[in-house]
Point group: C2
Chain length 367, copies 2
């Protein structure tokens, strides 16, 4: 086979990656050279190449370490990597996803993990998940406004087109939708016992429970692409645990999401007539306390933004010791609540792209 431009590029990316990866893993120059020759041959014959498990594992970890938006990177080296590249059927994939959920959940002591499925083929086509996160609430447009999570409106509609029917509550768990090359999308509900949810109450405000707020325990991003050494894994769902503000200061608080601040302010009997009573800020703090305390009570791992910022500072120090520059996206790293109380607010970060990394990709149902 001829070496085309794209395979040249792939070889370059592979060479870059194998160089850094093997050095970090303490392998010898000889091992590196042997492996690169092997990769070159495979690319020449097939147009692509296949990562060893070790390369896949370390690449997924490096990609986490390199993601500029993530404040949780201190723990990059503890990521558990599941290799499911052999899966070819929707049922097999479905089972692997449920296994991921169960492993990550671990009865509440959440474990960061990623499950990597077959990479995109030479023509760019790939198996894909339609879900934004494996566990996520549906959103419905109704006559009395949006019910549920507005960020799920479009995907919910697609599920309904595929025959799914939600109960219509504000917290319906969406089914998994798996798309294989050339096949109809495969839709199936996650077994109920695999789904961990936390009811949100407030330790000092009993009326809080009457709001009927809950949230799922594990954020498992399933629509991003993992790129390692030029290979694109378009189906590679990964999870950490939540930072409280993601739920309490965004998902539940944003006006165009669940918009719970007015309801919280009402049970707190705050003066909502005046901006300067800072009722939004007060309600926001109590909503976030409620989230943190409720997860804690339920025994589900969660981190507050102050602790997460301290952990990130540790990460920065460790990376400096290793001689690696920490890149970062300031606007994403600052927490959406009291940001100036964290060190992150007070320093600049270089938002340079380093690979391997996780990338956004077009939703498969928008093609």
């Amino acid at each position: 086979m001829m070496i085309s431009n794209s395979t040249m590029l792939l070889l370059e990316e592979a060479t870059d990656y194998i160089g850094i990866c093997y050095e970090e893993l303490g392998k010898s120059d000889y091992q590196k050279e042997v492996r690169l020759l092997e990769i070159k041959k495979e690319i020449e014959h097939t147009g692509t190449y296949t990562h060893s498990f070790e390369e896949l594992e370390h690449g997924a970890r490096m990609a986490w370490r390199n993601n500029n938006r993530c404040i949780g990177r201190l723990f990059w080296n503890s990521l558990t990597v599941f290799d499911e590249r052999h899966q070819t059927t929707a049922e097999g994939i479905f089972d692997a996803l449920v296994q991921h959920i169960d492993f990550a959940g671990n009865n509440g002591k959440i474990r960061p993990a990623i499950t990597v499925f077959r990479a995109a083929q030479e023509n760019g086509e790939s198996m894909r998940l339609w879900n934004h996160q494996l566990i996520r609430y549906a959103g419905y447009e109704t006559a009395r406004g949006i019910v549920g999570d507005s960020s799920s409106l479009e995907f919910t509609k697609r599920c309904q087109e595929l025959g799914w029917e939600g109960a219509g509550t504000a917290f319906d768990i969406l089914p998994l939708v798996i798309q294989l090359r050339g096949e109809e999308p495969f839709l199936k509900e996650i077994p109920r016992q695999s789904i961990m949810e936390v009811e949100i109450g407030h330790p000092e405000i009993p009326e809080f429970s009457q709001l009927g707020i809950k949230w799922y325990g594990i954020p498992i991003i399933s629509d991003m692409m993992l790129e390692i050494g030029g290979i694109e894994y378009k189906m590679a769902p990964f999870n950490g645990w939540y930072m409280g503000t993601e739920i309490g200061a965004r998902n539940l608080a944003d006006e165009d999401r669940y918009n719970f601040l007015p309801a919280v302010a009402e049970i707190m009997e705050l003066n909502m007539q005046s901006n300067r009573s800072l009722w939004k800020d007060k309600a926001l703090v109590e909503l976030n306390i409620a989230v943190l305390e409720s997860f804690q009570e339920a025994g589900v791992t969660i981190v507050d933004h102050h602790t997460a910022a301290k952990q990130f500072k540790n990460f920065e120090k460790k990376e400096e010791v290793e001689g690696r520059d920490v890149t970062g996206n300031w606007a994403w790293l600052i927490p959406p609540m009291s940001p100036a109380t964290t060190h992150i607010f007070h320093k600049p970060y270089k938002n340079d792209l380093v690979k391997p990394n996780y990338f956004h990709q077009k939703a498969p149902y928008q093609f």
Copy 2:
């Protein structure tokens, strides 16, 4: 006189500015052409040119409108501009500064204003103010740590070198320091009766007053350079009124400024052993309520960050109607408290530089 590169550049900047300024002021093309010829002649003869009052006034207002970091820009067209370009003595300048303070203060109903002094001469030298803000607290390094405002440490030392002695409290008002070309810096205290201060108490937490916190009423930035049509006004102090978070979420709260969150948390009897009690966030909200309420009580204009964000949204709308792009610096525009509750957090801004504008310049005592 020959037209040098720098005067060519000046003529270009002047032409750009007069073009926009005269259009916005509804003047005719003929008026514009006449004025540009005049400016060209003046530049050819003197190497510089002199703004009419109208050009100065509109330029200072446009510079405000163009400043990407300012959330208060809705009111750009109401800026009062004082022309003090005739001042040549330190005493005359001092009196003009005190007049600015009194006009702006207006018994608490604060009026946005700028006082413009003589522009930099051809060699770049200029009269300068050493103060960062006209009214600002001193900061001292002492055996028991920093007393006062750490952001004033260096300037306070310079004042001491010039013979000034502060009382040594956490809230000593610094003197004005005026530097004329080739002269020793002139230092003089602002008359006590011109200084408006607000003691910070909390409407529902009486112990708050025991912390002995206060802040001055008017922020008057005095170290930035106003550039209009290529002319650099290095001494042009300007003021608006405060947005509460500037005081409550930064000056009084930052760990390396007044660091009052632990003291506030203590009187609130919060659990400071645990990050996840969100004691910092709780103390922050109450400190900011205290600031807003105390200013209100004292009859001194102040705006909360929610109202300021709404006003900024109005500004964006108005500019759109006028057919002008709004540029902005997201990181500065988001308030340092509950930022995601404002619309600013949820949209991108282009941080392009548009002139006229206000620029940072090197502190004169660092030459």
